[in-house]
Symmetry: C2
Subunit: 106 residues, 2 copies
């Protein structure tokens, strides 16, 4: 069964390729997720990475302002810098407005 | 380095949990991706699934009409039906407008 609902929230799609080795990535990732969950307007996060280091993380937010504030958060900025220096070969960020959603559960 | 651009296209986020076993899933997945690439308005696809069967696939489209047409495509409808019967424990689909994007490449 599927159920359609109207959405009025935002998604940040973070598609990335990791460099080799952990180099503190796992610990920082956990810290950043904990911190994100504490931010005003945070709604949720989904994250998948395969064995090749290819990953997609999507965080969901109430507003563009909430996304902007999280991007500018001091601890997050430090992590972003480290991400570019050490952890990611490349990444792409897309900020999206969720217009419609539906789901299936067996 | 990052570069900001204005986006004016759409993303379909498909977050899913697979059932155990392949059961024809891989072959159908390849066929559906090939078919999607042939559809008017198709822009691209990113897909990651981890060893636990948790996956995120995002397809990008020029318009909501293109997304609608692909959802209604006869071969795709057969695959969707099989997906609910066999391949997925659960999934969620979110249709989004991409409002902004930026990228990093080491």
């Amino acid at each position: 069964m599927t159920a359609a609902t109207n959405g009025s929230y935002y998604a940040v799609i973070f598609s990335s390729q990791r460099t080799d080795g952990d180099n503190g990535y796992s610990q920082m990732g956990e810290r950043m997720e904990e911190l994100a969950r504490e931010q005003p307007g945070f709604l949720g996060v989904e994250s998948v990475r395969d064995a090749s280091g290819s990953g997609i993380t999507i965080s969901y937010w109430e507003s563009l302002e909430a996304i902007h504030n999280w991007k500018q958060h001091q601890s997050h900025k430090v992590a972003q810098e480290e991400g570019q220096q050490v952890w990611y070969e490349n990444y792409k960020v897309r900020i999206c407005k969720v217009e419609r959603e539906y789901s299936f559960d067996a």
